[in-house]
């Protein structure tokens, strides 16, 4: 379980996150939604100890993120950053293989190599495995970095806008893959999504952030109402239902 207690963050005097209290139990998919600048990436970077906590407390399976050894956390929690730029002269296979680093520290066992192969297959990367990352298209690169995050094999996955640059085929495949590992292996995905309908279809829970505050939290049915959506995104959009799930006509 990830527990966020009383967390605030500010840059100089500008508040970015204000008194966030959130607990995310083990298992399932939580979608984090909200407009640009709401603080979603900032919240992720605090959970993943990429920047120091200023106020409050965050624990992952009861381990405080600011005092637990980095490697121990890396075996429990993986993060895909929004701008996951990586070095150029590395092949897709090498990049994906780095996901295993927290487990083997540079000496991959047969099991690690098998997991890398599995991730390459899962994300349709076998034909690109020996290409340099800087020779790929944006979507292919995104898939390679997503595959690396998966390969880390952690109980918790923080994915910051993982669908960026992905075509519909691969976006759907990624969401289905998340669903599978959540259902069959009790793994937990927290995922920043801009496509609210992806959240409606795949998430168990939606947390909405605006101006650094949690302003809605619940099942897709609870959160995806016209009133809630207006207060989150600042304009009125129609909500239909399809196959029993909310379907937001946000583009009209």
């Amino acid at each position: 379980m990830i527990v966020i207690e009383n967390v605030s963050l500010s840059h100089r005097d500008t508040p970015i996150l204000r008194d966030i209290d959130l607990s995310l139990p083990r298992g399932g998919i939580t979608a984090l939604v909200g407009p640009n600048g709401a603080g979603k990436s900032s919240l992720f970077s605090l959970i993943a100890r990429l920047q120091p906590l200023q106020k409050g407390r965050i624990t992952v399976d009861d381990m405080p993120v600011d005092t637990t050894p980095s490697r121990t956390l890396a075996q429990r929690l993986a993060i895909l950053r929004q701008d996951g730029a990586v070095a150029n002269r590395l092949t897709v296979r090498e990049i994906v293989g780095f996901g295993r680093f927290p487990h083997h520290r540079g000496r991959p066992a047969a099991e690690d190599l098998a997991l890398v192969d599995a991730a390459l297959s899962e994300f349709d990367l076998h034909s690109l495995a020996d290409r340099f990352i800087d020779t790929l298209s944006g979507g292919q690169r995104q898939r390679a970095i997503v595959a690396m995050t998966f390969c880390q094999g952690t109980d918790y996955l923080l994915l910051d806008e993982p669908l960026n640059n992905l075509d519909m085929f691969h976006a759907r495949q990624l969401m289905r893959c998340l669903r599978t590992i959540a259902d069959e292996r009790q793994r937990t995905a927290i995922i920043v999504l801009h496509d609210i309908n992806q959240a409606a279809s795949y998430a168990d829970r939606i947390v909405a952030l605006r101006d650094g505050r949690v302003i809605a939290d619940g099942t897709p049915d609870d959160v995806l109402t016209e009133d809630h959506l207006e207060s989150i995104f600042g304009y009125r959009m129609k909500v239909e239902h399809m196959n029993g799930k909310p379907f937001v006509l946000h583009h009209l």
Partner: protein, 313 residues
């Protein structure tokens, strides 16, 4: 299986070493060989420390056109030399005890690096800020050296000029061996860190995500860089741009950013250029003491080329 390009590099390096030892052997062979072996040791030591320190530094700072000289260690060294010449005069400077001087120089440079790293560790200060402090201090030391050299008489100034470039002609055996041992130890540590270095090269956030304790690792690597630079600078003098040339070539030749390949390739290329260049200068061109100037010139050209290349992207 060892990489084919690595084998070729190693072979060329070996040939350069053999040529350096054997070309134009005359007179008292044993004596000449002893002299050359000492010089070779110094050349190898410098080649390897410059190569390894530059690769480490570029990886930690995630910047391909930086060299460790941005930390200002060589500027401190130069200022120290100028100040000594100023205070003691050319003759007094020349009669300083080489061992004490070597030890004091190494310690001073490592102390400066420590002073730069301290806030990084204690207050989690930003690494770019630390580098900026290094640049500023380097500038200060350089300006002070210039100020002092204005006040020197021409003879003393000529000594400062000589001290500003690497010089492989005035070596003491014991110091060279001591320097080589320290360098070897630092190189072993770097080699053992090769896998972590691959991860560090992905950048701060990605490395933390993969379980690297960033501050500790970055500070440790920078200290390693400082030790390598300090020892080689105290031994033969400052080498600024050469590392850039070597690191850039290694990446082009190996076409990878994996340190298991990058580190040895950079070291071998440095050996080829330094030892090969020295052989060429000694026997082809006759001006043995200018190697330091030549490698800096070529390294400087590479720096400009990289700048142009980066700015066009």
């Amino acid at each position: 299986m060892p990489d084919r390009r690595m084998i070729v590099l190693a072979a060329i390096a070996l040939i350069a070493v053999l040529l350096f030892l054997t070309v134009g052997l005359r007179g008292n062979v044993q004596f000449v060989l002893q002299l050359r072996a000492l010089k070779l040791l110094a050349l190898l030591q410098v080649a390897i420390s410059i190569a390894v320190s530059t690769v480490l530094f570029q990886t930690v700072t995630a910047n391909r056109i930086l060299t460790p000289s941005i930390m200002g260690l060589d500027a401190l060294y130069l200022f120290g030399q100028t100040a000594l010449i100023f205070a003691l005069g050319g003759f007094g400077y020349a009669s300083l005890d080489a061992g004490t001087k070597f030890g004091a120089e190494v310690l001073l440079m490592i102390a400066l690096a420590g002073a730069l790293l301290w806030p990084l560790i204690r207050t989690r200060m930003d690494m770019n800020l630390m580098l900026l402090m290094g640049v500023t201090l380097g500038l200060l030391f350089r300006s002070l050296s210039q100020l002092l050299s204005r006040l020197l008489d021409p003879n003393a100034f000529a000594i400062v000029q000589t001290a500003s470039f690497a010089n492989f002609n005035m070596l003491r055996a014991d110091l060279t061996i001591l320097g080589t041992i320290i360098t070897l130890a630092a190189v072993v540590v770097s080699w053992r860190a090769r896998h972590v270095l691959d991860i560090v090269g992905l950048g701060r956030e990605a490395a933390i995500g993969l379980g690297v304790s960033w501050i500790r690792t970055a500070a440790g690597l920078l200290l390693l860089v400082a030790i390598l630079v300090a020892v080689s600078t105290a031994l033969v003098g400052p080498v600024v741009f050469f590392g850039l040339l070597v690191a850039a070539l290694a990446e082009r030749v190996m076409r990878t950013q994996r340190h298991a390949l990058l580190l040895p390739a950079a070291a071998l290329i440095a050996i080829i250029i330094l030892v090969g260049g020295q052989t060429l200068l000694q026997h082809g061109l006759g001006g043995a003491s200018t190697l330091g100037v030549v490698i800096e010139f070529v390294g400087g050209l590479v720096f400009l080329a990289l700048l142009f290349h980066e700015s066009r992207k």
